[in-house]
């Protein structure tokens, strides 16, 4: 009986069925990510231009750099080291989150 039932169910040709399903899917996430990236980059550039104009050609940056150069070498090294540690921690958190997502 089972064999008869299986034989009575022929293979159904695709005939464009898969294409019709794919057409109805929402846009892929990577397309949405590219757009998001472009928007973020654009806003960042706009914000940078605004800051440059408002701060009279970035004068505050020049002042900050000048102050940094007067710091003792030890403090410069400590600042660089702590910045590196912070970046590393952020990277580890991002990698762990991605790994959890992959495992689940």
């Amino acid at each position: 009986m089972d064999r008869r039932l299986r034989e009575a169910a022929p293979h159904i040709d695709d005939n464009g069925f898969t294409a019709r399903v794919l057409q109805q899917l929402p846009a892929p996430r990577h397309a949405r990510r590219s757009l998001r990236g472009a928007i973020l980059l654009g806003i960042t550039l706009l914000a940078s231009v605004l800051v440059y104009v408002i701060s009279d050609g970035g004068r505050f940056l020049v002042v900050a750099m000048a102050r940094l150069t007067t710091l003792p070498a030890f403090w410069l090294f400590a600042l660089a080291f702590c910045s590196g540690i912070l970046v590393m921690i952020a990277g580890v958190i991002a990698a762990t989150a991605k790994a959890s997502e992959l495992q689940s």
Binding site: M1, D2, R4, I12, L25, P28
Partner: protein, 178 residues
């Protein structure tokens, strides 16, 4: 080396790879559409609409696929739920009594020119027996898998398969040998 269903699902989950999902659709469209054609009593347009709905739901809810069962089993469950919801909306007549089944293959009642094949006999079964027979006997699911698809107890699946098979055997016996 051909990718397994699990590999393709992982690609869809991680990279939102629609080519991978397309491959899954290509692999399973025949069995899903075949099941729905049988459930809808060969209403091809409705079956294909429900099949499209099945795969779209599968894509949107792919994160809920845990990999405990086969991907095909999970698809069949979505397909069956889509069919049931559609039947409720259309107030589909889902059952048929024994007398009508007997009359359909009684040579004194039925049109002697009419060719009663196996699919017609299946279409005469009540929905719960038809579903169980289609999943277990035609599509090769285990009783446990069929119970998950139909969301009914394991014992009920076995009973429905047994009863459905018996009715089909009686119907085919009345038609004589091939």
């Amino acid at each position: 080396m051909e990718l397994t269903d699990a590999d393709l699902v992982a690609r869809v989950l991680v990279d939102d790879d629609q080519h991978a999902f397309g491959e899954l659709v290509r692999r399973h469209q025949s069995s899903v559409r075949g099941l729905l054609r049988q459930l809808t009593r060969t209403d091809l347009a409705l079956a294909d609409d429900l099949a499209q709905e099945t795969f779209l739901r599968a894509y949107k809810n792919i994160r809920s696929f845990r990999g405990e069962a086969r991907f095909s089993t999970w698809l069949y469950r979505i397909a069956y739920n889509s069919f049931r919801e559609n039947a409720r909306r259309r107030k589909e007549f889902v059952g048929i009594d024994e007398e009508r089944l007997q009359a359909a293959h009684d040579p004194q009642v039925a049109d002697p020119g009419l060719r009663h094949d196996l699919m017609h006999a299946l279409s005469l079964l009540p929905l719960h027996e038809r579903s169980a027979v289609l999943l277990c006997c035609q599509n090769g699911l285990s009783y446990d898998e069929a119970a998950r698809v139909l969301d009914i107890p394991l014992g009920t699946v076995k009973t429905n398969v047994l009863r459905g098979r018996e009715k089909l055997k009686r119907t085919l016996a009345a038609w004589g040998p091939d």
